[in-house]
């Protein structure tokens, strides 16, 4: 077979080192690019750090000594104070100030049984996350079938729904929360609106990608029997994608627990706001109690969701779609 391409192995015997020279050249060029990239990166980092330091309220090296003071100030008067703050038990240091007024936040359910304030607020935050995830997942499910190529042949509707989901996803949650805060006044609803709108965008995209990857043989069979669109969705596509969707919903729930805490801090109620207040007022026992509660909750939700997702994956492996 005639070879027209220049082949380094078949170079004339007078130039034996062409391959090596070429290799060295390439290595040199690669190294040069790497060094240039690194220099650029370092320059960017230095510039960013200087800029950040200059525009910050406190300068880094001025604040550094006080930085550890802040953590020292976080140590409560005794270890039991954290438990007292957590369970709303009366404190021996109570002097009428807001720092030690733990029992005042109790939520009495009946007679003398109460839910401690922080736990109640934590439940509220968790419920904001769960509720938003559920309604957003339902909405995303409806929208994702309209955005999937294999279920929606009309490109106008499909692309319209996709753009809509993109906007929902990219829109800053703070703005949605703030806007609904202005209309609905303080409460959990602005946080629900913000979290669920963002979740519709995020889940919708994941969902339609799953739908597009579904096996269409079942759908074909249904279409052959003259099934309507909704029947094809229900019996052809939904059974095979449902475990996958559930797993995405659980992942999103983990994210939303964190998101609803943050949105709570900017005015949507829940535990986030309490944490912001107690940190800014230097209430060390309260702060530590809330941080502890949050840490336990977040780890718990993560573990629960991970184990549920494992079970879903097992189920899928056992009953292949």
């Amino acid at each position: 077979m005639p070879v027209n391409l220049p082949d380094p192995v078949r170079e004339p015997p007078g130039r034996p080192h062409d391959v090596e020279r070429h290799w060295n050249e390439m290595t040199r060029r690669k190294r040069l690019y790497s060094v240039l990239g690194l220099v650029l990166l370092v320059a960017c980092v230095i510039a960013s750090l200087r800029f950040a330091n200059e525009t910050n309220a406190g300068k880094f090296f001025e604040r550094l000594p006080y930085f550890f003071d802040f953590f020292r100030d976080l140590v409560p008067r005794d270890g039991w104070e954290i438990a007292r703050a957590l369970f709303d038990l009366p404190s021996p240091y109570d002097n009428g100030s807001f720092e030690y007024n733990y029992p005042e936040g109790r939520h009495y359910v009946w007679s003398s049984f109460y839910i401690p304030e922080y736990m109640f607020k934590m439940i509220e935050t968790l419920n904001i996350a769960l509720f938003s995830t559920v309604i957003a997942a339902l909405a995303a499910l409806c929208l994702s079938f309209l955005a999937a190529r294999n279920m929606m042949p009309n490109p106008w509707i499909r692309n319209g729904v996709r753009r809509f989901l993109e906007i929902l996803r990219a829109f800053p949650e703070v703005v949605v929360a703030g806007f609904f805060l202005a209309i609905l006044s303080l409460g959990p609803l602005p946080a629900i609106a913000a979290v669920s709108l963002h979740t519709v965008g995020a889940l919708g995209k994941l969902f339609y990608e799953v739908i597009e990857n579904a096996d269409m043989k079942a759908d074909e069979g249904l279409r052959a029997t003259g099934a309507r669109w909704i029947e094809r969705v229900r019996f052809g596509v939904l059974p095979q994608i449902l475990p996958n969707l559930m797993s995405y919903v659980l992942l999103r729930l983990e994210i939303n627990v964190r998101a609803s805490t943050i949105i709570g801090a900017v005015g949507g109620g829940g535990i986030g706001e309490l944490l912001r207040l107690s940190i800014s007022q230097n209430h060390e026992a309260k702060t530590l109690a809330i941080v502890f509660l949050l840490l336990v909750t977040i780890i718990g939700v993560d573990q629960l969701s991970a184990s549920l997702r494992r079970r879903l994956a097992d189920e899928r492996a056992f009953h292949p779609a």
């Binding site: 800029f51 802040f70 703030g178 202005a182 209309i183 609803l189 900017v266 949050l294």
Partner: protein, 503 residues
């Protein structure tokens, strides 16, 4: 018959494999049960959050106004009627400056001395803004449709006199207009006309009010809404009108600027070849300065804050990746043999990740004061945990043969890592870092709002005033643009990195 034995055979079969059938029955019952549970949960949450009552109590009409203010602005002429019947007009702190004389407000003035009642002196009709032919209300970003002060009020012929308004006509965009005299206001909206008598500080409608006019109690203020064109409030001694225009007012120059109100062509001419307005610097420098320090839009401040957010995400993610990189080698069970070290590092990652970015942000805001340092530190701490976890998982999943090959050549432990592992994982690490850089640009906005600086805080402050929605829209647009650019950039870089892995 043959059917009977077949049935019994089936029953026998069911008897033998009862487990299988039971699972199927359970699975069939699961979906309806799940749906019932979901329904109960949704109803319970509806009650828990008292959603119904909150939605009912919400101020929905104002939601439309707020949404409209994202892309429009209001000009607010306000007429005050003194007890002796003298009317005065003011524009408050509007986007047109102190004395705009817009062409949609026509005034009839009279000169009088304060002792005598009005109307005796020579009444003089002025259409104050006869100069501009343009009547378009769609002046996007440019106030050039708004006329500048033409000839001023007629020179007072003698001392001790004042000019008062005897009649005013306000034409709103659309078909609405108001004809105002000190004793009566005639409001025309489309074909309908409402007359309101003003006497003794009370506003009394003549006849019944249509649907677009509302009066809570007799004699008090009447609110007239004209949809997107604006609205007006009429009370006994005051008529305030809100005329809504599409666009962002004074986007480049505010009312203090010498370039304010000039058409673009003239601004361009002044910047390129005009005489210096401020002798100490060129017109270009002056214009740029005026844009940067625009009092309403605060461009320079917004850009600085946006840069802070970008810097927060960039430096925070980069440092997190740099710290997570060596730690991941300690955490990976396939690389470091010590079980204690593996578990210790992994638990550290879990801790950093689970104490949420938000909690770190609050801590560091307290420690460093509000600003990008706090946000950067928060992103750094959280992402050290997240990236460390991802990196160590990647390290545990690598192909071991390459490492064995390098080791079999008698390479030192460090060389084994360098040539046996790094080439496999480095593109993956870089791609994960880029992904987090991009997603942190979004997160930095939210933690900014709790005090960690950047555009988030500025955005939140603008939202909380409830009146700067156009500024909110501007910042959201900038943010979306930045997120879009970083999204594409990180996607492009990542696909190149992953491409090199496949090659």
């Amino acid at each position: 018959m043959s059917a009977v034995p077949a049935l019994s055979a089936l029953e026998e079969l069911a008897e033998r494999h009862s487990d299988t059938l039971r699972i199927a029955a359970n699975r069939a019952r699961r979906l309806p049960l799940l749906l019932c549970g979901l329904f109960v949960y949704l109803v319970a949450s509806w009650w828990f959050f008292s959603i119904g009552s909150i939605l009912a109590a919400a101020n929905w009409p104002i939601a439309g106004t707020y949404l409209a203010s994202w892309v429009s602005y209001e000009i607010r002429p306000e007429f005050r009627i003194a007890p002796d019947g003298a009317m005065t007009l003011s524009y408050g702190r509007g986007p047109l400056g102190k004395d705009p004389k817009p062409d949609w407000v026509r005034l009839e003035t009279a000169v009088r001395s304060p002792e005598k009642p009005a109307a005796a002196a020579a009444a003089r009709t002025t259409a104050p803004a006869a100069t501009p032919a343009k009547t378009s209300s769609f002046n996007f970003m440019s106030p050039d449709a708004a006329p500048m002060a033409g000839d001023a009020a007629p020179a007072a012929p003698q001392e001790k006199v004042e000019t008062v308004i005897t009649r005013a006509a306000v034409m709103l965009s659309g078909a609405a207009s108001l004809a105002i005299t000190p004793s009566q206001v005639d409001v025309k909206n489309g074909d309908e006309v409402v007359s309101i008598r003003l006497a003794d500080g009370r506003a009394e409608p003549i006849g019944s009010l249509p649907g677009w006019a509302e009066q809570k109690r007799a004699g008090e203020k009447i609110v007239l809404s004209f949809g997107l064109a604006g609205w007006a409030e009429v009370s006994g001694d005051r008529i305030s009108v809100r005329n809504r225009f599409f666009g962002w007012a004074n986007f480049l120059f505010d009312t203090q600027s010498p370039f304010f109100g000039k058409p673009y062509s003239e601004v361009w001419r002044l910047v390129l070849s005009g005489d210096r307005i401020d002798p100490s610097r060129s017109n270009l420098a002056l214009a740029w300065n005026n844009i940067c320090y625009n009092a309403e839009w605060q461009h320079l401040d917004v850009w600085t804050k946006l840069l802070q957010t970008i810097v927060m995400a960039f430096a925070g993610t980069l440092f997190a990746a740099l710290l997570a990189f060596p730690l991941a080698f300690l955490a990976a069970r396939t690389i470091t043999a010590s079980r204690v070290l593996n578990q210790g590092t992994k638990r550290l990652f879990d801790f950093l990740r689970s104490v949420d970015m938000f909690i770190w942000a609050l801590f560091f805001t307290r420690a460093f004061g509000p600003g990008p340092l706090a946000g950067m530190a928060a992103i750094f701490f959280t992402d050290t945990g997240t990236l460390g976890k991802l990196f160590s998982e990647a390290l545990e999943n690598i192909d071991d043969r390459q490492r064995e090959g390098v080791r079999s050549l008698g390479a030192s432990p460090l060389s084994v890592q360098r040539y046996g592992i790094l080439p496999q994982v480095l593109p993956v690490f870089a791609s994960q870092t880029l992904y987090f850089w991009e997603s942190n640009t979004r997160s930095a906005t939210i933690i900014g709002a709790v005090g960690a600086g950047g555009i988030g805080l500025k955005l939140w402050e603008a939202i909380r005033t409830n009146s700067n929605w156009a500024n909110v829209a501007y910042m959201v647009l900038l943010l979306l643009l930045v997120v879009f650019i970083f999204d594409s950039l990180s996607n492009a870089l990542r696909s190149r990195l992953i491409g090199r892995v496949n090659a």
